[in-house]
Symmetry: C2
Subunit: 455 residues, 2 copies
């Protein structure tokens, strides 16, 4: 067992994290002598219902995985056992290194429908083989960072702690999710593996089970405070306000030795209970003590609590953030947009593909993003280009960015969005994303060519 | 890189897959001399909206992880770096082996609200430390198996293939999910890592990108058929029915050499298109060719298509099954129910805990399950007991069950449910789950004791 702060989470045998059809196509391309360069574009077809933007995330982890992708003996043996890959192809796999070039948005960049988060430029077999890996990694972290950005916005400057590991959809979702949350502005995670792997601050106090294991709540508080004098005490095991009174009694009993930082409310009507808890603490001259709330929270409940004046100082958010409850999947696509220098598309209903290599320009006015333009690569458009090369010929171009700098960058990019976009409600009007005249012309040309060939 | 068919998916450093508060409590229990045996119960508080049952899953993987749980040097060093664990505790962790006993439902058992899927009997620190691991692993696979059981039921005997890896919430969710799906009756997965790790059959054909990379669809079909003569061809890249006509033309051109097995429709109105495709194939004397449908499917859409008479022979199901779209999280709890041979509960609103060790009895009549009883351990109740010891003193009691036998067992258990329970609509009446008189009496006793101590 080993780990480094830079290793992507939970990725043994990532080379097999592929759909069978990808390797079947790779073999076909090779046998058919189709080795030219392809462009694959990773984008979201439409934003989830009610959302104003997504936050690009997961790209650094993908780049690390691509750089290290090798087909070990075990993997080759498994593929051989399927009985449909000839030895020549397995030999090629055994020597495989990803040799492509990757253009990507910086993690923490707000992104909109149809905008490429990532463009992969590689021999077609290679670009095809990494489809599922790229979609899963970037899709997961983008999904979770996007949800967390809303939770953080709702908390309006108060710390948010990720409590979701138990309900996340798997260990990978919990650990990579903690990373995405932190980039999006979440303060800390309860998950130790995420802390170890990515250097994210960890936080946590006590569970109901600790209180239950004692004869009474008071005994439990006294025992825990002896070992962790500055902890937060969980007060809702039996009756929340009685629990708070017990904390106040402990303070009176301990005098100057009492250094407990706060109380956590985890059930019931959090507005009423937080007001009650605040009153009890203040009456006991414990105005410095904080109120921490958790239990079934999401951005809407947090906004409602704060809007109603709940005196809550920090939030623990689990399930809804960890599975992106209102939108548990993105309409993410990874599509061939060029092969052998020729733009490609498809004509399936409702599934537009913008052909060729592209760039996204973000137009700014007085520090505010006023609209994006999706353009052909090489076009000169007014605005900040969002796609940058991050990997060339299979090698990353810069060391992995530190989490702190990604987090700071995300905060800056989010602050640049128009106010309405950062609100929880759907923005009206939505953020304008235009397609350049040259890209529209190219799209028409490619469609005409495809239609002619089809006809 | 290595893998065995029995290894749980993607679990390096599982010992750190814990919430900080669990290790904080473990340290406190040790310093306070609280080393007695505790019982922790894993159960779902309520079924997701609209669901009639859940399917227990993920237990074998958890047992493997528990058996192998060790705190390696890297993990200890990380914990030391947090600055809140004394060396005596870190030394204890370095020698840690899980020594508990586990009672569990067989994977593939339908389970209902408040029924323990799992009971952990262990020194309290140990039972506490594995909380997040147990909840995440068993929660994920139970969530996904439960969703898949509905999809499989809707397909009414037609094969269902898991296409969801790209949209699953992480690599772990994709791989462990494929296992859960297969146990629940899904035929095969597209994911090679799931195939390698668990021996699940893998399936897959071709993507739109392959068609796009050629000058015309006809060329692409011809090339792919040359390499994979018995493949299924994807026909909706440009126009679905034109694509089917092109397959028929290829059949005419190839004569006896034509062995393509079917066509896949991936977009558009799948009812109209499947009827159209069937007519074209039949008219070309290709009645033996199958129609495979995919693209945004879930159990409701599959049921609607088949109900309307769509001639679809097999389904590829992705996103909605892979994230359990209608219910992306379970209201799963892992609760202390006894410590030092004394039953424990809490009184938080809406969060009942049934105290002590328990057993679930399934009452059968003429091969049909007619109701469950949750009872105290040791009670003699008419019915089949569902909880069995699977691990004792930290060692599994039987070799890992093969996937085929778990899958067959799940099919038998599902077939025992009343017909209304197996339908997609909410069953009326719901499946009856009673609590034994002795357990109700014990619950009252424990609550009274707690209230007395609180008061």
């Amino acid at each position: 067992m080993s780990s480094t702060a830079s290793a992507p989470a939970l990725s043994p045998q990532a080379e097999l994290f592929a759909d069978l059809y990808e390797l079947r196509m790779a073999r076909a391309y090779r046998e058919l002598g189709m080795a030219k360069v392809a462009v694959f574009s990773l984008f979201v077809r439409r934003l989830p219902q009610g959302r104003n933007f997504l936050l690009a995330c997961g790209i650094e982890d993908l780049i690390d995985l691509l750089e290290g992708l090798r087909f070990g003996r075990t993997s080759i043996d498994y593929l051989r056992s399927l009985g449909e890959f000839p030895e020549t192809f397995l030999d090629w796999l055994a020597g495989f290194r990803f040799s492509g070039t990757v253009h990507a948005m910086a993690e923490g960049t707000p992104v909109f429908a149809e905008e490429p988060l990532l463009e992969i430029v590689a021999p077609i077999a290679e670009g095809q083989m990494i489809e599922t890996l790229a979609m899963n990694l970037v899709g997961l972290q983008t999904l979770l960072a996007s949800k967390a950005a809303r939770v953080v916005a709702a908390a309006a400057g108060r710390p948010v702690v990720d409590f979701g590991s138990r309900r996340a959809q798997g260990m990978d979702a919990a650990v990579a999710g903690a990373r995405a949350f932190h980039i999006a502005g979440v303060t800390a995670t309860s998950n130790l593996l995420a802390g170890a792997r990515y250097g994210i601050p960890v936080a946590g106090t006590m569970a109901h089970s600790f209180v239950q294991a004692f004869g009474s709540e008071g005994e439990a508080f006294r025992a825990f405070a002896r070992i962790y004098p500055e902890t937060i005490l969980l007060v809702d095991t039996y009756d929340t306000l009685d629990g708070v009174r017990r904390v106040a009694a402990l303070a009176a009993e301990m005098g100057d030795a009492f250094r407990i930082r706060g109380v956590r409310l985890d059930s019931g009507d959090l507005l009423t209970l937080s007001l009650g808890a605040r009153a009890i603490l203040d009456a006991a001259s414990l105005g410095r003590m904080q109120i921490f709330a958790s239990g079934g929270l999401d951005e809407a409940r947090i906004a409602a609590l704060l809007g109603a004046g709940a005196p809550i100082d920090a939030f623990g958010v689990g399930t809804e953030m960890s599975v992106s409850g209102d939108a548990p999947a993105l309409d993410l696509a990874y599509k061939l947009t060029a092969y052998a220098d020729v733009g490609r598309t498809k004509l399936s209903a409702g599934k537009r593909i913008l052909p060729g290599r592209k760039q996204v320009f973000r137009r700014m006015a007085q520090g505010v993003a006023i609209g994006d333009v999706i353009a052909r690569d090489g076009e000169q458009i007014d605005g900040v280009p969002l796609l940058h090369p991050v990997m060339r010929d299979g090698r990353r171009l810069a060391p992995r960015s530190g989490l702190a700098s990604l987090r700071a960058g995300a905060a800056v990019r989010l602050a640049e969005l128009p106010t309405g976009l950062r609100a929880l409600a759907p923005a009206d009007p939505a953020y304008p994303v235009a397609i350049s005249a040259a890209l529209i012309a190219e799209e028409r040309k490619v469609r005409d060519r495809v239609l002619a060939a089809v006809g």
